[in-house]
Symmetry: C2
Subunit: 223 residues, 2 copies
């Protein structure tokens, strides 16, 4: 039985959960708050980060969202998310790195710091300027998504791929934390509404983080 160590607002865990959902792989979510730095969790993963997946029967631990995704792409054929030629796969992986690194660094990470960590750990108010910078960065990233969709049906090409899952995972957390303004990003919005309506996405959208309510249109399918 696979267990997934995660918390509801971790974008990397969401990317993994979307992939598992698309592939129809069952797992038990285990709630882990990495900021508590639990000794048992640090023994499992020296980086102290989620997501981690553990196969309790075989004693296998998979660490890091990209490592986990590559593992299930290699072992489960259903709903392949790294499709096409080696060059196509390089483009998919490039975009996954882009959203995991740049979108996360510019938008998701500061929003999590200001709206989640400051509330749960430090019990201080968010910094208005950091929030403003993150929301401004989000406009640039949505522009880039619009640009990709000018030429393509999905972010990396003609079929849905891990790039779409990585992007939707980051955006969904940014959206939960009030960082996304869809104004004048019709194309990106249409793509994201399509992602939100997938069965793999529904369980994520219904989850809540205690004390941090999302905006009212967060889980609406037509918005």
């Amino acid at each position: 039985m696979w267990q997934l160590y995660q918390f509801p607002l971790c974008p990397f865990s969401r990317k993994v959960r979307l992939l598992l959902g698309e592939k129809g792989i069952g797992y038990e979510p285990v709630r882990e708050s990495p900021w508590l730095r639990r000794d048992e969790f640090l023994d499992l993963n020296p980086t102290g980060q989620v997501p981690v997946m553990v196969d309790t029967d075989r004693g296998v631990a998979l660490i890091d969202s990209t490592v986990i995704c590559e593992f299930f792409e290699e072992t489960v054929d259903k709903a392949a998310m790294l499709n096409g030629t080696a060059v196509d796969r390089a483009e998919i992986r490039r975009l996954v790195v882009w959203f995991d690194s740049n979108f996360f660094r510019d938008i998701t990470a500061p929003l999590l710091e200001e709206r989640m960590i400051k509330r749960l750990v430090h019990r201080t108010a968010p910094d208005a300027r950091a929030l403003r910078d993150a929301m401004k960065a989000a406009v640039g990233h949505l522009d880039y998504i619009d640009y990709l969709l000018d030429h393509r049906t999905w972010l990396a090409g003609p079929t849905m791929s891990l790039a779409d899952l990585a992007a939707a995972a980051q955006i969904s957390i940014a959206d939960y934390l009030g960082g996304i303004d869809w104004k004048s990003h019709e194309q990106a919005k249409r793509w994201y509404v399509g992602m939100k309506s997938r069965p793999s996405f529904r369980p994520l959208l219904s989850e809540r983080m205690d004390g941090i309510p999302p905006p009212s249109d967060y889980d609406k399918l037509d918005d």
Copy 2:
């Protein structure tokens, strides 16, 4: 013809160059200093980072060291560096992420900032405390390498893998910048001397960055 955009002290470019060397893939190195943020380079890679590999004949660009390594693993069988079962491959990839992210963040990145960027860009002196912290972090990382080698011949298992290339690439830059003290790390040192003596490593060791000389034992094979 493959071109590789890089500069001599980029650890991610070194990881790629070690892989290309092991696989016997020819390429033309193109010197790129990402801190100059050249417009033409930003058009090629919106992150502005090296390494980037370009196939000038086919008009293909591969962006990000991990993307590049996965591409050549998929397309060139010689000297496979992601060997074994899916679980073995997950362990190799986990360690690559560990060295690319944690070793880089704790050691290589601050050393590059203090000893290279401050000299070349800001023309200021390095911060002694940041250097000390990086050297202290290096001790912890060498301890981890010793621990891995207690149980294994190579970092990820019985055969040389991308994990060894990623680790050696980071260490070689930290060593060039005077951040590595091998004292009481005999096992890690023996492994690293083995890496240094590989034909794929020799061309890297003979390169110099203008105005930044390495310590005298940096390219010695017995040290």
